[in-house]
Amino acid sequence: MNLFRSEEHARRWALFNPQSEEGFISLPDLAGFFATESRHHMLAPDYLSAWFPRRGGERRAYLEGIGKSTPFWLGTPSPA
């Protein structure tokens, strides 16, 4: 999960995975992905019990909202 100067730079990276073409995300989308409600409460005394459990659902909903609903992004098994 890295930042690159551009998509071209990522593709030239020595460790670039050719199967990760769908792994690009714009910075505004990335910032939104990491700005879901639970993220605003990381300093709350009850974050671990009250907020962290919400993170998975929030992430999934956000990814689906920006059209990244493939197993690659959702962490679900790939179709056989």
Partner: protein
């Protein structure tokens, strides 16, 4: 466990490094071994972070990292933090409300610098403007790759 998590998060935000379990135990007035077990329990409950293999040392406590990464974080002119990864770098802003958070990293392709600055979740600076995020392996344990890739 909430209290332990909160103390760990506060410590890494305030100083750039998370409490060791012996320090955690001291703060909570626990025997040292209880502190170690509490740390283990916290990390199990927060599996997006991890201990360095074969140790009880916190390596990663996202969005920040105890172990240096290429994502250097500067707040109020002080560079004493590291983000876990490029994605989590965009989340560090939520740990410093009302402040400008600067993340600097070399591009893994060319080594040239990249800079983002964020304040309360909004970008202040993105240099170069065509900067992108990239996930090299899909999310999820079924991919069989460490989460930091």
């Amino acid at each position: 466990m909430d209290q332990a998590f909160h103390l760990l998060m506060r410590s890494i935000v305030e100083s750039g490094s998370a409490l060791h379990y012996a320090e955690l135990a001291r703060v909570l007035a626990l025997p040292v071994e209880d502190g170690r077990q509490l740390l283990q329990a916290v990390m199990q409950a927060y599996p997006i972070g991890w201990l360095h293999p074969e140790t009880d040392y916190i390596a990663s406590f996202p969005p920040l990292n105890n172990l240096p990464t290429q994502y250097r974080v500067t707040v109020r002119g002080q560079q004493k933090w590291f983000a876990q990864c490029g994605f989590e770098a965009t989340s560090v802003t939520w740990l410093f409300p009302g402040m400008t958070v600067k993340v600097e990293a070399p591009c893994l392709d060319c080594g040239d610098p990249m800079v983002i600055e964020m304040r309360d979740g909004h970008f202040v600076t993105v240099d170069p403007p065509r900067m992108v995020g990239h996930l090299n392996y899909g999310f999820g344990p079924s991919r069989g790759r460490p989460p930091f890739l």
